[in-house]
Assembly symmetry: C2
Homo-oligomer: 107 residues x 2
DNA sequence: TAGGGTACTTACTCTGAAGTAAGTTTTTGA
DNA sequence: TCAAAAACTTACTTCAGAGTAAGTACCCTA
């Protein structure tokens, strides 16, 4: 059963979601991890050349705090840290697809 | 047929959509107009008490420019301006629903 | 002719997200 | 013992988006 939404509460709910996605680089990061891909910090750096280390970490940390990405540390030298999506994070994919399809459908 | 997306192009596509939705007040406005509702400027003002006239207009103009809301002017005294969603704007509703459902599904 | 209601504009300030650039930690191997 | 690679951290600056507050155009009615 779906909740009863008021305009205000529905807008609020969507805004919570947008807040998660809103960072300048989060979507690029997400799309690099969709489909069960696992990437190291340095791989993401290479895949997104324009991003700075600071921003990459900041965005990853926020995504992690929001429960969308998982961080796995390997205690090696040199260190290795892998990032992947949580189950919940993967489920975001179809929802974003819906937005893309909507955008394509502009008359 | 669906386009072939790279991480970068997909992220870009979603970002275009987010840009449309991103204003501080756009979602509230949208949810007040979903379902074919038609509202006057002053009705929206009342429905969203915290918004200032400047922001209301600004957001409405941007939504209009993006092809999501329609503006109908009645040349009366006092003036009357009605806002409603375009067909494309209405179609946004299910896509936002998908996001809401995703958010509810957080483990 | 003065006031009132509706739909805007304009000028200013403020704040937080993003950018830049440099420094830090850890341990191995030459 | 010192450089090198990976994954961060820190300090500073910049700028666009949002807020505040006031003003404007229109024209009817009293």
């Amino acid at each position: 059963m779906t909740k009863k939404w008021t305009p205000a509460s529905a807008a609020d709910g969507v805004e919570q979601v947008l807040k998660i996605l809103e960072g300048k680089w989060k979507l690029v990061i997400l799309f690099h991890l969709f489909g069960g891909q696992v990437k190291r910090f340095s791989e993401l750096e290479k895949a997104i050349p324009a991003i700075t280390q600071k921003m990459l970490i900041q965005q990853l940390r926020q995504l992690e705090a929001d429960g969308i990405v998982t961080r796995t540390i390997y205690h090696q030298v040199p260190p290795k840290v892998e990032y992947s999506l949580t189950d919940w994070g993967q489920e975001l994919c179809p929802a974003l697809d819906a937005l893309l399809k909507w955008a394509e459908n502009k008359k």
